[in-house]
Symmetry: C2
Subunit: 568 residues, 2 copies
């Protein structure tokens, strides 16, 4: 192990916000000196004259599954953007594969140059209507706290459970605190008394704030606010006032869900810092949020600063404003040079966990009969997609069951099926959806929040069968089929959620899938796979399709597809 001197640079001091001319001495994995060290103190000298030395950025809340990449591939994408640590919630893979999914993510991220911290998924399954691949109780989660990379309990979405004092929910929270870990929140639009009730459980952050008023109330009541800027949810502009005092010191920066194409085109945490700077806010303040604030939020004692005793996760940068990263050091080792990622050893998961995540479909090949609607009646409930939103509403209309089993492309009434794929139950929900706009063919996906059952939308049963069965044969992914053939596909063989392919490849596959779906008639204003991914999530109003049929989200009750007597 040698001593490395970074000589001639200017350190961004995140404790004070000052820029300090100082040399930085690194020994092995840690920073051992900041000050007037010279070449005589070191075995190696790296001249960084005129450059900035910045702590590596931390993403305080991310679902790796949403990037569709393995932790190693995500590392290759994120490190050149200066992210040296992420706090990941493996909520999606846990809903498919349970403990094996969490273990797989821990194993596949062990020893990566980018540190992957894990928050334990708090809500598996996400709702009582979800038929997920696993149920994780407090007893299941507890042993994971033995791992130092496990920082706490991830976003607690079960507001009702928290407020009602549900024993398993409270045990999960109590366990996190007993292990001196933190509990993240997830409670959009909660305020006043409702918020107070939720906070009683000691939930100390939220990443769902969309307005300054909402965020300021959270900060005043002791929560950390995670300013989220991902692919779908983009809260930065709305939350710019938080970059001013007295709020900025209680904020961090997160992406939550960001797709690979956006990561490649736009960047990661660096892009949020850059955007804040362009919007007239202090880049230093944004960097503090992305470094030492994240460390404080998660009680990481030696991360997030360029100081003696801190982990040598740091960035060599040319200037403050562009946030462009030249070189990156992770635990003292250069991992990015001139913007290019250097090779690193990839971790391998244990066989048992790898097999589990690669074999996550427990379902027989489907036939046209599987998509026949068995209920009878004169009118039916159609799920209506609202453009650009995840909200849906209910449209009650007549369908002609004798013609194409009720499918009516002219009125954009397509068939929708959600097929349970974890437990071989044969459960399925079949109905109709409006607003997708396909004129022919069918689409299918294994990404369907939060249980990730098989979901299919089509203009005819035959193409639905083709698309669905292709998902099965790939072990997961997104498929577009037409005229009895697959015309575009993106394999996601890891739990049906992630790929083992490089980011550029998955981004290209994703582009082709989108192109294909629009070629089949879906208007450019609609993202069918995005809508499809949320049409089964019975927490977003108002009408959703689950493996057990339609759910009225507002009343949290199941409702029948067909309505026989409209006067009732």
């Amino acid at each position: 192990m040698k001593k490395l001197l970074l000589s001639g640079g200017t350190v961004i001091n995140v404790f004070t916000g000052e820029l300090e001319k100082a040399n930085v001495l690194i020994y092995d994995t840690h920073i051992v000196g900041v000050g007037d060290y010279t070449a005589e103190d070191a075995d190696l000298v790296e001249d960084v004259t005129g450059k900035l030395i910045c702590p590596g950025f931390v993403d305080g809340h991310i679902h790796i599954e949403s990037t569709m990449l393995t932790p190693a591939e995500l590392t290759r994408v994120c490190l050149p953007h200066g992210t040296t640590a992420i706090v990941a919630d493996p909520h999606e893979i846990a809903n498919v594969c349970g403990k094996a999914g969490i273990n797989y993510m821990l194993e596949m991220s062990e020893g990566l140059p980018m540190t992957v911290y894990i928050m334990l998924p708090s809500c598996v399954p996400a709702t009582p209507f979800d038929e997920s691949g696993a149920v994780l109780t407090a007893d299941d989660l507890r042993p994971f706290y033995a791992n130092r990379r496990v920082l706490g309990l991830a976003e607690m979405m079960n507001y009702v459970g928290v407020v009602a004092g549900d024993p398993d929910v409270m045990e999960k929270i109590t366990d996190a605190h007993a292990h001196r870990r933190v509990v993240d929140g997830h409670a959009p639009l909660l305020s006043g008394r409702s918020l107070d009730k939720y906070l009683l459980a000691g939930i100390r952050s939220d990443h769902e704030c969309s307005s300054p008023e909402e965020a300021k109330e959270r900060i005043r009541k002791g929560q950390w606010v995670m300013i989220r800027q991902g692919t779908a949810a983009r809260n930065l502009t709305g939350l710019l006032p938080l970059f001013d005092e007295p709020f900025s010191h209680r904020c961090l920066l997160v992406t939550d869900d960001k797709h690979p194409a956006d990561l490649i085109a736009d960047g990661h945490i660096d892009s949020i810092i850059r955007a804040a700077g362009k919007a007239g806010k202090s880049v230093i303040t944004a960097i503090q949020m992305a470094t030492i604030r994240a460390a404080h939020c998660f009680e990481l004692q030696n991360v997030g600063a360029v100081a003696p005793g801190y982990k040598a996760d740091l960035l060599i940068r040319d200037d403050l404003e562009t946030v462009a990263v030249r070189d990156v050091y992770c635990a003292g080792k250069k991992t990015v040079e001139n913007g290019k990622i250097l090779p690193f050893a990839e971790p391998v998961a244990k066989d048992e966990n790898r097999k589990t995540v690669l074999n996550s479909f427990f379902i027989d090949p489907l036939t046209k009969d599987d998509f026949r609607i068995s209920e009878s009646g004169s009118k039916c409930r159609v799920i209506r997609i609202m453009p650009g939103q995840l909200l849906t509403d209910e449209w009650i209309t007549e369908v002609d069951r004798d013609r194409d089993d009720g499918i009516d492309v002219a009125r954009d009434i397509l068939k929708l099926a959600v097929v349970e794929r974890h437990m071989h139950t044969g459960h399925k929900g079949i109905g109709y959806i409006n607003g997708i706009g396909l004129k022919k063919g069918a689409i299918a996906s294994s990404v369907s929040h939060d249980s990730h059952n098989l979901i299919v939308i089509g203009t005819n049963d035959a193409d639905m069968v083709v698309a669905a069965n292709r998902i099965l044969s790939m072990g997961g992914g997104n498929v577009v089929a037409a005229d009895g053939k697959v015309i575009a596909e993106m394999p996601l063989p890891v739990a049906g959620l992630m790929t083992t392919a490089p980011a550029a490849e998955i981004a290209e596959q994703n582009r082709r899938v989108r192109q294909a779906v629009h070629a089949l008639g879906a208007p450019e204003t609609v993202e069918p796979f995005m809508n499809m991914a949320f049409v089964s999530l019975s927490v977003i109003p108002s009408l959703k399709m689950t493996t057990q049929g339609l759910v009225d989200v507002n009343t949290q009750t199941r409702v029948p597809l067909m309505i026989n007597d409209v006067s009732r």
Copy 2:
């Protein structure tokens, strides 16, 4: 359990520094709501119209032993001043009684209305020259982390051990981190490379800073700076610049060592806040240091703020500036009303630990022979006290051994003895001291940092015997004797360090002892008991007396009392 509404007040929000008109709802031990709650939400309403509602203050570093009070009595003194939590290092009692001493402090503070957090004494014994009552290794300390009130490892004074990587020192530090606890520092005047080396161990605070430059370097390098204002060490004035940004958010307020008379006359953390305000600094900033900053430093998740889910430790105050406290709530229960402490149940220590701390003298009654100097020689080393300082220097002079065994009151050369009292070893160091100024009589004490052996200074052997033996019969304390009789005394039967008497009584006893010692000739500029308490501590330069004789602090070697051949 009833719901209590504090109605009509203004909350000091320590997250933002704002003052907010809000009602506060308390249920049992915690704050459950802050906002527009009304009488209908509560069982009881307390009208605090026009009053401030402030989080209770936290003392981030205190030795309870220095107050000479039991934790319960200290609670009675501190609560009316608004201190609802202290972070105590039982270093002194641990040096006398080892694990039993720590357990005694934990037991005697269990369930008190003022929360007593404990940091584990890191350096028992404090130096290799110390003959303490116990040696505490990492193995001894580790089990204490099972107690949730144990927040970490206390002030790491062993700079050499840290830098050299002494295995037991490193194990103590590693254990604290492994239990997700913090490590406090103690490294006065350390800077630059020496500081960097010390910080590598992950030592995250210091309370010994005396100049803004020293403190700012600590903050820039990631330490929390504890601004100390006690009885002897008074750093507030020197550190006032820290109350400004960008430094204030990395500071907390501590007393370290404060005597009961000062606590009664002056107050506790409130007095530091008040003084900062009088010096022109923001009282709100000072309150933030005394509350939420302390909570952050020690990673206390639900302490230090008036917010939902936080412990209902709060103060009802009339105004911001005087920091006067009207009522105090601890865990939701009123403990101070109109400035008067309310009765509370006192904890009782386990018999075994109580017996250990109350029987801490293992030494036979002393006779004049015990104080005879056995070495012979023509010249000798006299410890010279420097007025108003704990530093000493060496004065080499001739003494007439045939007359009063070398004592020479005219030249203020008095006899000094340090007698081992823990292990019945019979070890003792006897020599001479200059600068105390006694004209007759003798003084003795069991408070003698950090091993707290029996220490005696006298103008004649007979009075030394009287004073020393009175210490033995009291089981510890401070004594003044003259003409063969005790003329003033302060019993400290708990480990020879603390009293079970009320604060006012010990303050009065202390006043009488001081009066007596000055009546025997010690000038008003000298505090003989203070100097005596540190004359055995071989870390403060330059000549000290231990149970094994004189130590040259600068060379860390023993030196003989008598010098036979001055040319050598």
